[in-house]
Every structure is written in structure tokens, then in C-alpha cells.
Symmetry: C2
Subunit: 320 residues, 2 copies
């Protein structure tokens, strides 16, 4: 299962990467941890039932969640600020007691990267970096085939790498974090600032914004750019540059075999990847960029579930 701020997603994954029985439900995180726990247990029962129907034997149950997971404690011990009260809820213990099955859990972004290495874009790679672009920017590091978590599991906070020192104030308090420029809110801000001065304008982008109830979001911009709307393409050049500044810095820092671009914004696909790749040579040492594969995540909306499955089959962060 993949617990997010909006939805809880689940499915059954075999060791060979076969995927069955996708399910999804609102995670209702604002109602507090007990409600979330109830939704998770309900989905667990549902998926166990589906597995039984198919005659599939269950090796283990895994959950990926924002925050730092401590499998000794059995839940989140740090981070996960957008899931009120979730920190301190020993969901792994509760699930183990209710099911008797081994429970696995890990931070969602790092597990997703593990999923890409085992089932997705990075199969066979040993040194891989992943950044997920969405509400915020998450990051994961695989060194020598294994997740690198750092001292307390906080490694990979790429969103809080400062790329415009002294710039916009981030939710973390620092000024100029990458997240302020290349997450959804950064993209929307860049779009608004480019759209200013074109008030009452016509063209594909304005049409799509109107259809979207006046809301500007990454999808509207990328869709318009795909139809070659000039203003949307200008906005994407800004986004591509600010995204490439961070990706390039990370390639200079890690010299990875592969850099995987994931998260909600990456569903814009090739238009997004092109915007990043076009700008990368301006911000990356040639010796390090040459030969580094920059690719889109392959697992899409099921990435977290595949990541959860990777935990089970690699026996990572087990309880019970």
C-alpha cells in the first residue's frame, strides 16, 4: 500500500513484478491517525481477500508513507508533516497484530526508488538518484544497489537544496530551496509571473485555464505546451531551467549511472523530460553528464505500490 496525503493506494505484486487488483481510497489524513488506520486495515482485509480468491499466498504486507519509518517502533518517527498525528502511530505493530503477517514499511520516495531498481526504469543499476516532483520535491539515493538513508533516514531531502540563495522563502524557513522553484507551487508561481502582463489574453493556455475553473496547474501548462502554445512554452523554459539547476547539481554531486525523474509532475512525460534535458548541459559538468541516463519513472501512479513490494522481496524494514 502507498499512503499519501490524498489517497491510500493498494495492490498485489508478485516477485516477478506482476500487478493485480489495484484499489484506491481517500486517505482522509485530516481526520487523524485513527481514521487513517481504519482505512488501512479495511484495505488490508480487502486485498487479503482478493489474494485468497486468486489462490495467491502472501509473503508480506508493506506500506510506504511520507516521513522517516522506524521498524523497531513500528511507525513514523520524524517528518510526515502533512499527515497530522501520523508520527507516533505504530501502524506496523497494529497491522501485524491484526493479520499475523510480516509487515514492512519505508519512506515513500526511497521505497519508490527501490521499486524502480527492482521493477522499473533502473533495473540492474547500482548507483541511482531519483527525484520526485509534486507538491514538494522528494529524493532517494541508491548506492551500490542499496538505499542510502544517512544517519537517521533523512538523506535525500533534495527539495531543500538551495538553488537560488536568498530567493523565495521555503516552508522549511530557508530562502531559495529547489522546492520553491521546481515543485507544483514553484511551477504555478513561475506561470503566474509569466502570464502577468498578458491579462485577458487569448490562446490555448488561457482557454485551458478557463476550462480548469481559472486554476493554473502543471498539467494545464504542459498540455498547452504540447499544443505549441507560445506562452506555455516560455513558462516551460523557466521551469526546465530551474529543474535542471537542481538535477545538474545532483549529477555533479553523485555522478550516478542514472537519474530517475518521478512524481506527479513527471506524468507530463516527454515534454517535461525534454525541458529538463535541454537545460542540463548549462548546469552540469560535461564529464559527469556524459553517460548519465536521465529517464522518467516507469511505474507511474503504481510506483509506491511497486516500491512497497520491493521492501517485501528484499526483506527491508521488517516487523514480525
Amino acid at each position: 500500500m502507498d499512503l499519501g496525503g490524498t489517497n491510500l493506494k493498494g495492490g498485489i505484486v508478485s516477485e516477478r513484478g506482476e500487478f493485480y487488483d489495484y484499489v484506491s481510497a481517500p486517505s482522509q489524513v485530516k481526520k487523524g491517525p485513527e481514521v487513517v488506520m481504519g482505512i488501512m486495515l479495511k484495505m488490508t482485509r480487502e486485498l487479503i481477500g482478493k489474494a485468497k480468491e486468486r489462490g495467491i499466498s502472501i509473503t508480506g504486507i508493506a506500506v510506504v508513507s511520507p516521513g522517516v519509518i522506524d521498524s523497531q517502533f513500528g511507525g513514523v518517527t520524524g517528518g510526515a508533516n502533512n499527515l497530522p498525528g501520523w508520527k507516533g502511530t505504530p501502524f506496523m505493530k497494529i497491522m501485524h497484530e491484526k493479520t499475523g503477517l510480516p509487515i514492512f514499511a519505508h519512506n515513500d520516495v526511497t521505497a519508490t526508488l527501490l521499486g524502480e531498481v527492482k521493477f522499473g526504469a533502473a533495473v540492474g543499476k547500482r548507483n541511482v538518484i531519483m527525484a520526485t516532483f509534486g507538491t514538494g520535491i522528494g529524493g532517494g539515493v541508491v548506492v551500490d544497489g542499496k538505499i542510502y538513508g544517512g544517519r537517521t533516514g533523512y538523506a535525500g531531502e533534495f527539495g531543500h537544496m538551495v538553488i537560488h540563495g536568498g530567493g523565495y522563502t521555503c516552508t522549511c524557513g530557508a530562502k531559495g530551496c529547489w522546492e520553491e522553484y521546481a515543485s507544483s507551487r514553484g511551477i504555478v508561481r513561475a506561470a503566474k509571473s509569466n502570464i502577468e502582463g498578458h491579462a485577458g489574453g487569448k490562446g490555448v493556455l488561457f482557454g485551458k485555464i478557463e476550462k480548469n475553473n481559472g486554476e493554473i496547474d502543471p498539467k494545464v501548462i504542459f498540455d498547452s505546451a504540447r499544443e505549441r502554445d507560445k506562452l506555455a512554452m516560455e513558462i516551460i523554459q523557466v521551469i526546465g531551467m530551474d529543474t535542471a539547476i537542481g538535477v545538474g547539481s545532483l549529477i555533479n554531486i553523485f555522478n550516478p549511472e542514472m537519474f530517475v525523474v518521478g512524481g506527479g509532475i513527471a506524468s507530463a512525460g516527454v515534454t517535461y523530460l525534454d525541458a529538463i534535458e535541454k537545460n542540463l548541459p548549462d548546469w552540469t559538468l560535461r564529464d559527469s553528464l556524459d553517460g548519465t541516463e536521465v529517464v522518467l519513472s516507469k511505474l507511474g501512479y503504481r510506483a509506491g505500490i511497486f516500491g512497497a513490494a520491493a521492501l517485501v522481496f528484499e526483506d527491508i524494514n521488517r516487523l514480525g
Copy 2:
């Protein structure tokens, strides 16, 4: 031996970290690789002679050098742009032929970090980041006790992490690299810009600049700050901030046990470390900063030689 753009330094180091017979000679890198090779062979003979006099048996000879070292080739295969012609000189092979002893070599910054882990500030640490501040900014990464080199040995190019996107143009072509703000040239630039408008001024800093033949360098600024010169202290606040932006970003990225501050500028000691530490909370996630030790390199001017010794005793990048 530690080959640098200015000097070749050498010494004898025991496995327990005892240090004997420090020697140093101008490396004369501008005269080309044959001259450098001659100086290295002369120092090798000198040190072998000193070891014999002391009755010390030699386990191996090691050289640390800028650039990416390939022990198959026996020399530098990339980088080392400030050592003309050094790339492509198989110095390891030549030294092995002349001495019959096993030869070891590695990039100077990464080896220095290994030296800090084996003999210096980071003994017993498993996940350590080091940045060296001097003419440029170098970096090294130790993961799980081992050097992390990345795909082709270029990992750790921290100087080319962009902290002021769109700012000063770096030697690499990118705009706003950390190196443009926190290396010697960045520090001198910050100093000049702060000194402007104080022309003909008096005070400790101006006195020291005059004594230094009108030259502004990091030493003059830090020495003046130690004597509580107001202008020097203002300059150090700027330097401390721009240095902390990069150190903080790297702590967010790696969540290390320890961050080691090394290189020529670090010889300014506690004044320098204080300037960084004072600014760090503004640029680092609290969860990651709490518990990360930020320390000065312990090995000083002999750091590279200790790093070379670490290669021998850990059997890294051996030829012969």
C-alpha cells in the same frame, strides 16, 4: 606523496598514524609532466632512503593527485585541469618500474577524506562528507566506511553545486556555482565588494592588506576578524552565509554523521568554523542538522599524505 598545483609534499606514515620525515618541493607543474615526474621520482628515492635509515620496511608508495585516477591505466584519466599534461601520464606504472614496490593512487580530496576517517577527525565514522575550501571547492563522500566515487569517479564535485542560480559565471560555465562564492576567489570577491566605499579607510584590515602588498586574501580577512575589525567581521558574515548555504544543502542531501571542513581556508580555524556554524540553522533542516557533527579537518597540511597512507593500508587503487 601529495601532488598539488604548487607543491609536492611527502612523508612516511605508519599504519598507526605515526608521521616521519616531512619533505616538500615545488611541483613545477607548468613545466610539464616530465619535470613533475622527475621531481616525484627524486622525492621517492629520498623517502625510501630515509625509511631505510630508520629501519622501516615499506609496504607501498602512494600518491594523491587532483583528477580522476585510473589504476588500470596507472594515472589521471580525467580532470586535473590545473596540471598541464598530467592527464595521460602513467605515473603509477613508471614509479612501479623504478622501485619494484606496489604503487597506490587516488584523487586528492577523496583520499584526504579517507585519511580523516582512518587517522583524523572522522575515526570510527561510517557516513562522512568532506568539503575542501581553497582555490576551488573539492568534495568527498564516505558511505558505510567506503569512498563513494560514483559511475566514473567524478562524485563529490560539490564546488559545482549551484547555490545562486544565474549568479557569477563559474570556470565550468554554469552561473552561480558554490565555488564562485565560497572558494578563495569567492571570498576575495566578497571582500572587495564590501571594502568598496571604504576607500582610504583605516583599521586593522586595511593595515594588514597594506602589509600584504595590497593583496586581499582569506588569511588577511580572517586574521583581521580575529582582532575584531568591524569590516572584516562583516565580510566574514557574507562568507559564512554563502559557505553555510552549501554545507546546509549537503547535510540535507546526505544526512551524514559528520561534515568535515578542510582545505587551505580551513586553516583559519575556529573563526571560519564559527562563521559557518552560526549560519547553518538558516539553511538546514533541523531534523538533519541536529546530531550532525560539523568539524575542522584534523590533519592540516599533512592531510593529503595521511590520505595517501590510508590508500596503502586499506589496499585501494593498487598497481603492482
